[in-house]
Symmetry: C2
Subunit: 188 residues, 2 copies
DNA sequence: GCTTTCATGTGACGTTGTCATGTGATCTAT
DNA sequence: ATAGATCACATGACAACGTCACATGAAAGC
């Protein structure tokens, strides 16, 4: 392997190790020493690839934003599905991500995008959702409703993750809540 | 001062110090050493009053939940205000809290209620919101709409805090989003 | 007045992120 | 091809952190 190849390989191994540790044990489990060990390098190796620990975590968020944008794009290119169902599918994809990788989800949403690449990746998702919404309510109202729907879906997912939806006060399913958001939407 | 009095005083000082440090410098600034120093005691003193650092932070969340519940209760007891405006005021109170004390807000919502007292305090808020919503849509639909509204308001606040609402994709104000949530509600 | 209790202070330990420095392999230029 | 530069990585060190065991001194109870 050439020098650039080995470097790229280690970098990928570091990101993968950090992602696995985050999923398995939450943020506290992602120590640079553990990441290095799982990636087969030492504890100081990440500093050759990332400015610091935060930037390594940011890379996880960037990757997640990008695959979420891809997923939303696939949904939009499903012409046989009604527009409202496609939009609902996009919101449910967000919630599925929160359930599958809760710590990664928190990293994406509860943290400011502290890097240009992160902001760009998050924007890609926003634009895909904007397009999904525009297919339902039209271009003019899409920004307002898009912001409302994405914020609400994020809020529903977050409330479920933190357990605040599971109290006796509200006995509703997350799917029901998402449906309540999308159902009343009509082109005007 | 009797022994119980001094103990209660230091406990209050610890909570106050932790709250101030959280507001001023975020979670990283809340170290037990800094809390102790600001409260006028040593770094080990908190362990006489709280099991853990986490339990000290939980106390901050409990207090915040309780004052939020009080605020919502005051809103509900304002008979001259229309029901929908009262509900909107409740949601805006949540958002105002997020703007005033963002780190405390994150502590309340992005963390599971890891103590019975915390769960109870959060439930008090939920029930107050439930009542505000019931005054608008009726008792039958209140749980569904209450869960939706509180999740959405939390989501809007969180998206604003993390900067994800300030992109070029959606140019909307938070107040506009809250209004879009409350405006279409009607008793059925 | 003597003993118990208890809030608090202090020393210590393991862990963490981070940096300075060392090292050995790869690249480049003659 | 070989000598020097470059670069990925390892290692030692340091300050800060949460946490606990233990010391201490004052209030409580008899």
């Amino acid at each position: 392997m050439t020098r650039a190849e080995t470097a790229a390989t280690t970098r990928r191994a570091l990101v993968r190790a950090a992602s696995e540790l985050l999923d398995e044990g939450g943020p506290d489990a992602v120590t640079l020493r553990a990441v290095g060990a799982r990636a087969g390098v030492s504890r100081g190796a990440p500093y050759g690839h990332f400015e610091n620990k935060d930037h390594l975590l940011t890379q996880l968020a960037v990757d997640a934003w990008n695959s979420l944008a891809e997923e939303a794009g696939r949904l939009r290119a499903a012409p046989e599905t009604p527009v409202r169902a496609r939009l609902e599918g996009g919101l449910l994809a967000l919630i599925a991500l929160a359930r599958r990788q809760p710590h990664l989800f928190a990293l994406m949403f509860n943290t400011p995008a502290n890097t240009p690449a992160a902001a760009e990746a998050a924007n890609r998702v926003a634009n895909q959702f904007l397009a999904l919404v525009a297919d339902v309510v039209g271009e003019a109202d899409a920004p307002r409703y898009g912001a409302l729907l994405m914020s609400s879906a994020y809020g529903i997912a977050g409330m479920e993750l933190s357990g605040h939806l599971a109290t006796e006060t509200w006995h509703v399913s997350v799917e029901q809540l998402v449906h309540m958001l999308v159902d009343p939407l009509r082109p005007r």
